[in-house]
C-alpha cells in the first residue's frame, strides 16, 4: 500500500519505519535489562562464583566498536556518492561484524578453559546466555549488512530516498547492537 505512505503526510519528522525500529530497540533493551536485573537479583542471594572475563572479550569489544564507525563512514561515503569508498567500507564492516562473532566464540571457549562452565554456577551461565543472545542479535545485523552489500553490488548506484532510508535502518540497528554489547561488557566487568 504505497498510498498509505505518501510522503508529506507524516506528522513527525521521522519516518514511520525508523520510528518503528526505535520502538523495537526499546523492546530489545527491556529484554536485556531483564537479564541484567535477574543477574543482580540472583547475585544478591549469594553462592556466586566470581571470575574475570577473558581478555578476548576486550578485543571483540574493540572490533564491534570499529565496525560501527566503519559502517557509519560507509553511510557518509554513500551520501557523498563516493562509490568506491562506500563499497569498500561496507565490505570491511561486514568482515568486522563477522570477526566479532568469531571472537565472542573464542571468548566462550576461553571461559570454558578457565573452568567456568555453561552448566556450572549461574554467574557463568548468565554470561554465556546473555552474550549468546546478544550474538544472535548481531547475526541479525550481519544479515542486514549482507543485504546492503547485495544491493550495493547488484543494483546500479543511485542515491535515492528509499535507499538512504534502508541504509539508515541498517545503521541504526547496528549501532544499537554495538551499544548494547558495550553496556553488557561494562556490566559484566563491574558487576561480577
Amino acid at each position: 500500500m504505497n498510498a498509505t505512505l505518501t510522503e508529506s503526510h507524516y506528522r513527525n519528522k521521522i519516518h514511520p519505519k525508523k520510528f518503528a525500529l526505535w520502538v523495537a530497540c526499546a523492546s530489545m533493551t527491556m529484554m536485556f535489562a531483564a537479564f541484567t536485573s535477574a543477574y543482580i537479583v540472583r547475585q544478591a542471594s549469594g553462592n556466586w562464583l566470581e571470575f574475570n572475563l577473558p581478555d578476548v572479550f576486550s578485543y571483540s569489544t574493540g572490533v564491534i566498536l570499529a565496525s560501527s564507525i566503519v559502517l557509519h563512514c560507509a553511510y557518509i561515503a554513500f551520501k557523498k556518492r563516493n562509490v568506491f569508498l562506500y563499497k569498500g567500507l561496507l565490505v570491511l564492516a561486514l568482515l568486522l561484524g563477522i570477526a566479532f562473532v568469531v571472537l565472542q566464540y573464542q571468548g566462550w571457549l576461553a571461559m570454558e578453559k578457565m573452568g567456568v562452565q555453561l552448566t556450572g554456577n549461574p554467574s557463568g551461565s548468565f554470561v554465556y546466555v546473555i552474550s549468546g543472545l546478544h550474538a544472535a542479535h548481531v547475526l541479525g545485523g550481519i544479515s542486514a549488512i549482507i543485504v546492503a552489500l547485495v544491493h550495493a553490488f547488484a543494483l546500479k548506484f543511485k542515491v535515492t530516498k528509499v535507499r538512504i532510508l534502508r541504509f539508515e535502518l541498517t545503521l541504526t540497528y547496528w549501532h544499537f547492537v554495538d551499544l548494547l554489547w558495550i553496556y553488557l561488557f561494562l556490566f559484566f566487568i563491574y558487576q561480577k
Binding site: 521521522i14 514511520p16 520510528f19 520502538v23 527491556m30 531483564a34 554456577n121 549461574p122 551461565s125 543472545l133
Partner: protein, 618 residues
C-alpha cells in the same frame, strides 16, 4: 438537560472533499488490486479491517475451547462423585472407567485443563482477541489513516498469533498431556521436564507457543504505537484522540516494555530445560535421586514473570476501558466526563503497573520491608482506577441513555470493575494477603475484575462496532438476553467464591469433598458449576448470534447508525482497503461533542464555528 436533539446539518462528502487531506490515494490505486484474489483478501490480508476480524474470530474459537475446559473442571469440582464416562469420547484416556462404569477425570488432566484455561483466556482471548481485534479495527479508522504504518508486519502479527495457537492446540493432543503447572508456569514444574507428565513435551510446546505469541504482540504493538504517533490525520492532535485510541496506544507501550521481559524469563527456562543450566532450579530430588542443578532460584522466575504479569492484566483491561468509555459516551449522548483526567489515569495506571509486581509474591518469602513498598504502590493504583469509575458514572448521570446491548455491557463493565477492584484492595495489603493468597478469594478477584470485566468490554465493543465490521447489526433481543443472563450468572459464579476463599479454600485443588474443613462447601460448588453451565450456554447463544448476523442481520443503511462523532463512521459502509475512497477526512474538534449547543452530536470532521472552544482543551 443538555440533550436537545437538533440534528446538526453538515454535508459529509463535501466536508471531506474540501477540508480533507489529499494523499493522491487514487493515483496509486490502479483498479482494486487488493480485492483481486481470495487469498490476499481473506487469508493473507494486509487490510487492518480484515486482520481485526481474523483476530476476533480466532479469539472466539479459543474462547469456546477455554470455556469448555472450565466447564469440565467445574463439573469435577461441583459433582466429584458423578460419573464422567460420557466425556470419554472427547477426553479419551484422561477418563478412567472403573468396573462399576463410573468414569473419573485423571487428576493430572484436571491440572492441565486449569493451566490451559488460564493460558488460553489470558493470552489468546483477552490479549490477542481483545486488543488485537480492536486496535486493528479502530486505530487506523479513528486516527484517520489508510492502514497501519506497516500493513505487512501487521499481517505477520496475526500469523504469529495463529502459529502460537496452532502449537498450543497440538499440545492438547500429546499422549503426556499439555502443560499442567499453572498459567504462570513457575519452576520447577516448568523447568524440569521430568517434574510431571505435562512438564515434558507439553511444556516444550507451551513455551514455543508463547514465544511465538510474544513475537506477535511485539509486531502488533510496534505498529500500533507507530501508527498513532505518525499517521494521525490533519487536525488530529493527541488531545483530540478518542479514549479508545489512548487506551490502545498505552496498552501497546505496556506490551512492548513488558513482554520482552517474559521472553527473557522463557529463554532462561529453556536453557534450564535444554542446556542443563540452573537459573531457576536448585537441589531437587526426583525419585530419591539428587539432580546436578545447584544454585538456581525459583523466586527469580517469579520476579521476571510478574514484571510482565502485572502489566499484562492492564494490557487486558485498558483496551476494555477504552471501548467502554467510547460506548458509554456515545449511547448516553453526553461527552465523556473528565476526558483529560481519563487520559492521565490511563497513563498513571500504566506507570504504576510496572512497580507493583511483587504483590503477587507476598507469600514467596519476600522481605516484609520490601513488601511494604509494593503494598503502597498497589494501593495507589486504586486512585486512578477510582477516577475512571467516577468519570464513567458521571458520564451516565443525566444522560439520554439508549439501553442497547452495547451500552448494557458497558454499564455492566463498570459494575464488575468496581466489585473486582475492591477485592484487589484487600489483597493488596500484605497482611491480609497472607490469609487470602492462593485461595478462591484471589480467583474471585481476578475473574471479576479482569476476566468477566474484560469480556464485557469486548462484548460492548463487538455489539457497537459489529455494523462497522460486517455491515449488519446483531440481533438486539438475543443481545439483551445475553447481557442479563451473563451479568447475573457471572456474579452467581464468582460471588460465592469470595466466601470460600475467606474460609481458606485453596485454589488449584482437584477435589474438596474429602477435606473436613471444606466439605461443607459442596453445595456452593454445585451452585457455582450450574451457574457456569448456564453462562456457558449463553455465550454459545452469543456466538450463534454473531455468526448468524453476518449474513442475516439487519442491514446497515446509513453510515453512522449510532450518531457517533468519530471518523470510522465516515467511511463507506463497505469500505475497501484504504478506508476512504477519496480524501482522508480532516479533524476539527475532539471526539465528544455530544449535546453541545443544542446539537445531538457534532462529528469530528465538522469545522468549529468562530469563537467555539474545542472540548478536549478544557
Amino acid at each position: 438537560m443538555t440533550n436537545v436533539s437538533t440534528p446538526i446539518q453538515y454535508d459529509e462528502e463535501k466536508l471531506i472533499k474540501e477540508q480533507g487531506f489529499d494523499d493522491h490515494f487514487h493515483d496509486h490505486h490502479h483498479g482494486d488490486k487488493y480485492k483481486s484474489n481470495f487469498i490476499t483478501t481473506y487469508i493473507f490480508s494486509q487490510d487492518h479491517k480484515m486482520i481485526a476480524k481474523q483476530f476476533l474470530i480466532t479469539g472466539i474459537f479459543w474462547a469456546i475451547i477455554g470455556a469448555a475446559m472450565s466447564i469440565i473442571f467445574r463439573l469435577q469440582l461441583g459433582f466429584p462423585e458423578e460419573s464422567m464416562a460420557w466425556l470419554k469420547p472427547i477426553l479419551g484416556k484422561w477418563i478412567t472407567i472403573n468396573d462399576a462404569g463410573i468414569g473419573t477425570l485423571a487428576p493430572e488432566f484436571y491440572y492441565a485443563l486449569v493451566t490451559m484455561h488460564g493460558t488460553i483466556l489470558v493470552f489468546f482471548v483477552l490479549t490477542a482477541g481483545l486488543s488485537g481485534t480492536f486496535s486493528n479495527l479502530l486505530i487506523p479508522l479513528q486516527v484517520g489513516a489508510r492502514d497501519m504504518a506497516s500493513p505487512f508486519l501487521n499481517m505477520l502479527s496475526y500469523w504469529f498469533f495463529f502459529l502460537a495457537g496452532l502449537v498450543m492446540f497440538i499440545s492438547l493432543f500429546l499422549s503426556t498431556g499439555p502443560f499442567s503447572g499453572g498459567w504462570t508456569a513457575y519452576p520447577p514444574l516448568s523447568a524440569l521436564p521430568q517434574a510431571s507428565s505435562g512438564s515434558g513435551a507439553g511444556m516444550t510446546l507451551w513455551i514455543v507457543s508463547l514465544v511465538l505469541f510474544v513475537v506477535s504482540v511485539l509486531l502488533g504493538g510496534i505498529n500500533y504505537v507507530t501508527t498513532v504517533l505518525n499517521l494521525r490525520t490533519k487536525g488530529m492532535t493527541m488531545w483530540r484522540l478518542p479514549l479508545t485510541i489512548w487506551a490502545f496506544f498505552v496498552t501497546a507501550i505496556l506490551g512492548i516494555l513488558s513482554f520482552p521481559v517474559l521472553a527473557s524469563a522463557f529463554f532462561l527456562v529453556m536453557c534450564d530445560r535444554g542446556l542443563g543450566t540452573s537459573f531457576f532450579i536448585s537441589e531437587i530430588f526426583i525419585g530419591g535421586q539428587a539432580l546436578d542443578n545447584v544454585g538456581g532460584s525459583p523466586i527469580l522466575y517469579q520476579h521476571l514473570f510478574w514484571f510482565l504479569g502485572h502489566p499484562e492484566v492492564y494490557i487486558i483491561i485498558l483496551p476494555a476501558m477504552g471501548l467502554v468509555s467510547e460506548v458509554l459516551s456515545v449511547h448516553a449522548r453526553k461527552p465523556i466526563f473528565g476526558y483529560k483526567a481519563m487520559v492521565f489515569s490511563i497513563l498513571a495506571i500504566a506507570f504504576l503497573s510496572f512497580i507493583v509486581w511483587a504483590h503477587h509474591m507476598f507469600m514467596s518469602g519476600v522481605n516484609p520491608f520490601i513488601s511494604n513498598f509494593f503494598v503502597i504502590f498497589t494501593l495507589i493504583i486504586a486512585v486512578p482506577s477510582a477516577v475512571k469509575v467516577f468519570n464513567w458514572i458521571t458520564t451516565l448521570y443525566g444522560g439520554n441513555i439508549r439501553f442497547n446491548s452495547a451500552m448494557l455491557f458497558a454499564i455492566g463493565f463498570v459494575s464488575l470493575f468496581i466489585s473486582g477492584g475492591l477485592t484487589g484492595i484487600f489483597l493488596g495489603n500484605s497482611a491480609i494477603d497472607i490469609q487470602m493468597h492462593d485461595t478462591y478469594f484471589v480467583v474471585a478477584h481476578f475473574h471479576i475484575v479482569m476476566g468477566i470485566a474484560a469480556f464485557f468490554g469486548m462484548f460492548a465493543g463487538i455489539y457497537n462496532w459489529y455494523p462497522k465490521m460486517f455491515g449488519t447489526f446483531m440481533n438486539e433481543t438475543l443481545g439483551r438476553i445475553h447481557f442479563w443472563g451473563t451479568m447475573i450468572g457471572a456474579y452467581a459464579i464468582f460471588w460465592p467464591m469470595h466466601y470460600l476463599g475467606m474460609a481458606g479454600v485453596p485454589r488449584r485443588y482437584y477435589r474438596f469433598d474429602n477435606f473436613d474443613a471444606f466439605s461443607h462447601f459442596a453445595d456452593s460448588n454445585k451452585f457455582i458449576t450450574i451457574a457456569a453451565i448456564i453462562v456457558f450456554a449463553l455465550q454459545i447463544l452469543f456466538v450463534i448470534n454473531f455468526f448468524y448476523s453476518i449474513k442475516n442481520g439487519k442491514k446497515m443503511t446509513t453510515k453512522n447508525p449510532w450518531g457517533a462523532n468519530t471518523l470510522e463512521w465516515t467511511t463507506p459502509i463497505d469500505a475497501g482497503h484504504g478506508n476512504w475512497p477519496g480524501n482522508i477526512p480532516a479533524v476539527h474538534r475532539w471526539a465528544y461533542d455530544y449535546g453541545k449547543d443544542g446539537h445531538e452530536f457534532i462529528p469530528q470532521i465538522v469545522p468549529m464555528r468562530e469563537g467555539e472552544k474545542d472540548g478536549g482543551d478544557h
